[in-house]
Amino acid sequence: MTGLVTVLGSGAMSNDIAGIADIDAMLVIGSNTTETHPVIGLRMLQAAKKHGTQIIVADPRRIKLADQARLWLSQKPGTDAALINGLCHVIIRDNLVDQDFVKERTENFEVFAKAVVECTPEWAEKITGVPAADIEKAAKIYGSAERAAIYYTMGITQHTSGTDNVKCLANLALMTGNLGKPGTGLNPLRGQNNVQGASDMACAPVFLPGYQRVDNDEARLRFEKLWGGPLPAKPGLAATEMTQAMIDGSIDAMWIMGENPVMSDPNSNHARKAFESVKFLVVQDIFLSETAELADVVLPAAAYAEKEGTFTNTERRVQRVRQALLPPKGACDDLSIIQAISDRMDPDREITWASDFQPGSDRMDVSKAEEVFNEVASVWPAIAGINYKRLEGDGIQWPCPAEDHPGTPVLFENGFPRGLATFTPVTWRAPEELTDDEYPFILTTGRVLYQYHTGTMTRRSQVLENADRGPVVEMNPEDAERLKIKDGEQVNVASRRGTITLPVFVTDRISPGVTFIPFHYREAAANLLTNDALDPDCKIPEAKVCAVKVEKKE
């Protein structure tokens, strides 16, 4: 997101889901779409079948989408920037640049062009392992398509070079004029139901709602006026930095709503230590998660089907969440919990709050959520035209500045928020942790279709558990043969940070030298192994690459 905001002025998926049907060429990089976003993955497959969309998959694994793709580029984990720079090089060399677009709507192209002069396909092949000829082919497909789109997820961002990777992709889209038109775009797929909404609302240390920086005096003054009180100007700590701050004692109280960082954070032993050392930990969740087990106070929350509100999906579509069930008796919707604590913290409101807080018997009052939404609409112009009544229909894609505005399926049609979009020269940097004799395998992590995140919900849904094969480490047959490990055998996978034991799944869908473990499973938690080194700009950890060794379990 930080990368996108820097170069374009907005950090969200630029195009819409419906537009997938008309895309001519598509680069899907670092996204196992059919498993992580199955319905979007399905639209991609349908586009290939019906529209003839040429799909280029760039992924260390031959993911299912690759079976329907025109081209599969198997870059080594952590070499995305080199691959993309290689593509950019070919596009410039072969005159596939959209000169008009570059001239009218961007800046800094020359500097960028100079920076990729050296990035020949042969150079990129050496780093990425992708044959130069395939890089040429991919550049040609993407660069010469009328409408070409880029889709990516955490495979691009969860690296120490995550921000750079995104900037590289932006360069690629900008130089070919593939922004601001239907069927094109730079499209980060949001991995969770309301990442977009949480980001929009600035549950982030440097922003106020609507992506206005906290250290921008004008923006902050506006919010001080709206909210009626002084606001801090100093950017806060990112989640990953909070971990260290809890260990060194600069954070004493932590309130977590609906997250399970002990499982989801890379290097989870380190994360666990942080949550064990913090003086006071409040966790609000629907289950006693691994993190909640460490808490000093656990507050039982309502699940999605038990409350009112909105989620904003990956294509910026604000959609209603409606209450279908009462929460279990004693559990409470998060909004009421936050408001109860907020009321009690406010010395002036002692009279107004209910001293007898007993949630759970009645349905949640819609107007409670609606009131908050209306406040958001009044502070953030991009949704000023949205209200609950309008959301009874199809949901509305922001920006939607006025009540008669239909919403915006495609961003940047009439320009970029920052004026001209900017090209950024990016020099490829290797991942923080490299393989060596002791830890000879690259480990990359991700999701599977049947599970979600740390499994608190999916692992308690019987059908999903029945259908899922459970934790495995994927390994290429060549590697397995060399290590004399048979499919299904238990192995120990160890990194510098931890060891887990799980069965091996031998598959030629993964390249030699690379292993893959889904991170959903408590009994074989991949994040015990992963690296918590951070991207210097946005502080994202490098969950997607680390070095491991694999040994047969004795």
Binding site: L45, R190, N194, A198, M257, F287, A340, I341, M457
Partner: protein, 825 residues
């Protein structure tokens, strides 16, 4: 282009089919096989329409519209064609729409449904389901005659399911676990209803009227509510503590109660009318015993069963002597005899004029009484009772069965000269009961209230109105003595009618009788229907031994424990179709007046059920080969084939396989036109209760698929998606369609927990305590180290509103920007 459908001119798009054009114009053409964009290889033939100028009907699914086309979709000829086609399909469709237990229950309770909930360990849901139709699960679970069990098909394997024990189990379990059922109630209507009588019928009426949002006042003459349940059933049948709990559950709806108010004495019908009640429901039951019309029938020591049982149930001190007889063969007589045994009477004899086997009392009750030492003297009838020094002398005459009458019934006749005498201390008679002997008094309305010859209140069986406007009657007061469940049913239906009348709304259509069945009687069910089912005997209800149970009035039947209940519920053969609510074959058959008695139905199973798929079960006996499953699959994962077709065009030798491309998204199930495909977890058929459909947004990935949650009570029954709704247009992944059972997982947190000291345990506390604890700690840290020593981590799974309020709290109230969420990158 312009076309005309059924005389209506519409503008249609170019090159679309007649079916699509009609759909866009809101005109419904029936089809069983069509899925968007695809037609079956073997069309169902239902979508036929007439097109002017075309000699034969055309299929609207594969005929494109043409300028000026004049189409007729619902002519008699088309209807006939459809009916013929449906009749052909019906002939071989093999399955049960509703389970026999459900069909037999007078309360129309979703029996299979609550058994399925028990099998899944969802006891609260099971009880809620029962209480959608029966507010007395505790009582009925103890005294029901169990009509359902008599039709249970499990008897064809070995023994019927112990259904009623399961009902009692879920009720008792919820009581033991202090479950607050939070029974939903509609918004207040402003209407007031008075109910006369606080027994099972009156309280049932009050319960259903309250749920509809009416203000209900119950008038009860006795000091406590419950009627016959309290004053007619001794403690060993229905413990008072259980009854009190049951009634309190109902009263939580806000029913107003006036006890100790005797109708005709403390108030009249006119009084009620004058105080603004919009309707009155009379549900006084049968408080009057039919008298024992023999000489000596009113001597001291001779009493009606109502009087006797009232003494027993109110604990009145009385000496019934050493020997007693009970006259009559009904259940009340048997309960009276068992109560006498427990009241210090040494010898209790039930006297009945016909053979013992013909006693109307349930065989189970007779057996219980017998094991407790009650004697039976059948083929005997009382002649006279006289007072003697030792007590009472009752003269009996023996009977024999006479010649069959016109209906073939043999009535008992006296054997002359067979008179005999018994010396007893107490005589209790149970000759039947009624609402009133000589009509009602108190006011002019009371006097006008019309009675039946049997002394009950005459009410219209369709709308439960008495002869007086706005005054209804239900339960035993209208029918004479019946089972509790029958009183409940009458009162429920009367409440529905009262609601309709006072609100001026349409009466909901009753359920039709249309029902596919694998065999209406046990004899009709072919043996191979249940091959492969391994034998599992009916669970035995734990009970006290008669030697000790007769020493007190404590409950005799102890109830199933959880393990027994689960095991018993798992025996259920799940006869009824879980596609009941969505089956297009059934819906179209009803719409087209298919008479299954004429067409016949499939008689035997041709395919084995297949449960090998992780999310889906397949029963090809219900398959009509519409191919919608295959045609709706976006992954080419279904391989459906038939070995051939019979002379009427029906598929034979059907085979359905899920290949390796299957991602378990379940769209095929939602598209199945019958119950051939079913969701493994959706084992509770949605038969006759209200289903609420709530559209919401999927909680998993960021695609934002729109879900339709089907909810009954507080239970999520299944999740589907609307094919016309963006962004997913009916598509969902396996998580979206099947990943929701975590909502009701027993691990859900339901109470705040606090760890008072580091290293200590998390202990449950009240919300107030937890919130105060949090606020105190936050304040301490704030005072100690300032705002930047606090931090918040919010969630991409919470709503936008929650995230907004969360960050605002940290920024404005705490004063820090230490706020993040884990997936913002």
């Amino acid at each position: 282009m312009k076309i005309t459908i059924n005389g209506m001119e519409i503008i249609a798009q170019e090159s679309i089919t007649i079916l699509e054009a009609a759909k866009q114009a809101g005109i419904y053409i029936p089809t069983l096989c069509h899925v968007r964009g695809k037609n079956a290889d073997n069309p169902c033939g239902l979508c036929v329409v007439e097109v002017e100028g075309s000699e034969t009907p055309v299929r609207s699914c594969d005929t494109n519209v043409q300028e000026g086309m004049c189409i007729s979709t619902d002519s008699e000829a088309m209807k006939k064609l459809r009916s013929e086609r449906l009749a052909i399909l019906a002939e071989t469709h093999f399955g049960d729409c509703k389970a026999p237990c459900n069909l037999t229950c007078p309360g129309q309770i979703n029996v299979q449904g609550y058994i399925a909930h028990v099998a899944k360990g969802q006891y609260e849901e099971a009880l809620r389901l029962v209480m959608e139709r029966n507010p007395f699960p505790f009582s009925v679970g103890r005294v029901c005659p169990r009509f359902c069990e008599t039709k249970c098909r499990r008897v064809l394997v070995e023994e019927p399911i112990a259904i009623n024990h399961l009902k009692r189990f879920v009720a008792d379990w919820c009581m033991a676990n202090k479950i607050d059922l939070r029974i939903p109630k509609d918004l207040a209507t402003g209407k007031k209803v008075a109910v006369i009588g606080g027994g099972p019928a009156g309280l049932t009426g009050a319960y259903f009227l309250s749920r509809k949002g009416h203000e209900v006042t119950v008038y009860e003459a006795a000091p406590k509510l419950g009627g016959m349940l309290r004053y007619g059933f001794p403690e060993f049948k229905i413990p008072k503590a259980v009854l009190d709990y049951e009634i309190n559950t109902l009263l939580q709806l806000g029913i107003i109660v006036q006890t100790g108010q005797k109708w005709g004495v403390d108030y009249t019908l006119q009084d009620l009318k004058d105080s603004g009640f919009d309707a009155i429901l009379i549900a006084i039951g049968n408080p009057v015993d039919k008298l024992l019309e023999i000489p000596g029938g009113s001597l001291s020591g001779v009493m009606g069963s109502s009087e006797f049982l009232k003494k027993i149930t109110t604990g009145e001190d009385a000496d019934y002597g050493k020997r007693a007889v009970v006259l009559g063969g009904n259940n009340i007589a048997v309960e009276s005899a068992r109560a006498l045994v427990r009241s210090g009477v040494d010898e209790v004899t039930i006297i009945y004029p016909r053979p013992k086997e013909e006693m109307p009392a349930h065989e189970r009750n007779v057996k219980d009484a017998e094991s407790e030492g009650v004697k039976f003297l059948d083929m005997a009838s009382p002649v006279e009772i006289g007072a003697v020094d030792s007590g009472l002398d009752i003269e009996l005459i023996r009977m024999e069965l006479g010649e069959p009458d016109k209906r073939g019934k043999r009535n008992p006749v006296e054997i002359s000269g067979s008179n005999m005498h018994l010396q007893v201390d107490t005589v209790v008679y149970s000759m039947g009961k009624m609402a009133s002997k000589d009509g009602f008094a108190g006011g002019s309305l009371e006097e006008c209230l019309e009675l039946t010859p049997a002394g009950n209140i005459k009410s219209n069986p369709r709308n439960f109105l008495t002869n007086l406007e706005g005054i209804y009657a239900a339960g035993d007061a209208t029918s004479g003595p019946r089972s509790v469940i029958q009183a409940v049913v009458g009162a429920r239906r009367s409440a529905e009618n009262i609601h309709v009348q006072i609100m001026g709304v349409e009466k909901e259509a009753g359920e039709g009788r249309f029902n596919f069945s694998r065999g209406k009687s046990f004899n009709d069910v072919v043996p191979e229907t249940f091959t492969g089912i391994s034998s599992a005997h009916r669970g035995q209800m734990p009970e006290r031994q008669p030697e000790s149970s007769i020493l007190d009035f404590e409950e005799v039947k102890l109830g199933f424990n959880e393990e027994m209940a689960r095991k018993e519920a798992e025996r259920c053969l799940s006869c009824g179709c879980t596609a009941f609510d969505r089956c297009d074959l059934k819906r179209l058959s009803i719409d087209n007046d298919i008479n299954l008695n004429k067409t016949g139905m499939g008689k035997k199973p041709l395919y084995e059920k297949d449960a090998s798929h992780p999310a889906i079960t397949v029963d090809l006996n219900k398959c009509i080969f519409c191919q919608r499953c295959m045609n709706s699959c976006a992954y080419d994962a279904l391989e459906l084939s038939a070995s051939g077709f019979d002379e009427k065009g029906r598929a034979e030798g059907i085979s359905l396989l899920f290949n390796g491309k299957c991602v378990s998204c379940g769209k095929c199930v939602d598209n199945c036109s019958t119950g051939a495909l079913n969701k493994k977890e959706q084992i509770v058929p949605m038969v006759n209760e209200v289903i609420e459909e709530v559209r919401t947004t999927c909680p998993y990935c960021g695609t934002g698929c729109q879900l339709e949650l089907k909810v009954k009570g507080n239970t999520l029954m299944e999740v589907t998606a609307n094919p016309d709704q963006l962004p997913n247009y009916g598509d969902l992944c396996v998580k979206g369609r099947f990943g929701h059972s975590f909502l009701s997982h027993p691990d859900r947190l339901t109470t705040p927990l606090v760890r008072r000291q580091k290293g200590g345990d998390l202990e449950p506390v009240s919300w107030n305590e937890a919130l105060d604890f949090v606020v105190d700690k936050f304040r301490d840290v704030l005072a100690d180290k300032g705002p930047d020593a606090l931090a918040g981590l919010s969630s991409a799974r919470c709503t936008t509103e929650e995230n907004y309020v969360f960050q605002k709290f940290f920024r404005l109230q705490i004063g820090t920007n230490n706020i993040d969420h884990c997936a913002r990158y």
